[in-house]
């Protein structure tokens, strides 16, 4: 199990997660354009999710099958949202 796969520095990962959370809150309060702020905020959320998945869920030590189980539904989510976006979002 993970003993064979190693344990990352979990506390350091937590500090990164908290730092990124504080950064995204601070950015949301700055007087930049809404769309630019949103892009940065969601990019930070993506980085946080990847940090949790790779380190806390040990995805970095997993095999291809587990990766595909995580990635295929995510791809479906992105494709479905992107395909529907022009129709629903503009009406």
């Amino acid at each position: 199990m993970a003993g064979e796969r190693g344990h990352p520095n979990y506390v350091a990962v937590w500090f990164w997660l908290v730092g990124l959370m504080v950064t995204s809150v601070a950015i949301s309060q700055l007087p930049f354009s809404k769309s630019a702020t949103d892009v940065v905020i969601f990019a930070i959320a993506g980085v946080k999710a990847v940090l949790v998945a790779l380190n806390f869920m040990h995805l970095r030590f997993e095999r291809l099958l587990i990766y595909s189980l995580a990635i295929v539904p995510l791809l479906l989510f992105f494709i479905l949202t992107a395909v529907l976006f022009p129709d629903i979002a503009s009406h």
């Binding site: 809150v25 930070i44 959320a45 099958l65 189980l69």
Partner: protein, 197 residues
Amino acid sequence: MSQTHAIETQTETLSGAAIPSGRLGVWWFLASEIVLFGGLIGTFILFRHGNPEWVAAAEHLSLAIGTVNTLVLLTSSLTIVLAFAAVDKGDSRRMRTWLFLTILLGLVFLSIKAFEWSTEIGAGFIPSTGGFWSFYYAMTGLHALHVMAGIVINTILFISAVLDRLKPHEYRIELAGLYWHFVDIVWIFLFPLLYLA
């Protein structure tokens, strides 16, 4: 360590590599959960883009409460992974401590959420108030149900550990942790969607 996981069955992949069945099963389950939350979040994104006036509704949410709750859930992810690390080191006492803290933090998260909901409902914001509030209660409600389920699972594991019945099944801490981290990841996206954007 080898004894701890001795009874966990293995599933062979096409390449012949073995993956513990429990871990594989949880990842399959999480894949279905991604579709569940993905559908809800994707629909919210679409409607949110088509309804710019929802920004005004979102401003009624408390950023401070949302931020504190995010910190609580991130910290609970740390405590449960430390519980699993303790299992790997054969330190059952420390594992119980981290698991107990995870349960406690889950309860803190739910208590803060309940306070937040009661404040919003008291201010007249109920699901029928508008589209934003329907999504808000649906998404945070579904997420809270998942947190509750996680607390139940962690509590069962904790009681088993206290009764000294978890020893041959301690790998289940990792499986419970996978689920708990997923619930954390969902919140990582709900937080900016509802409170920041």
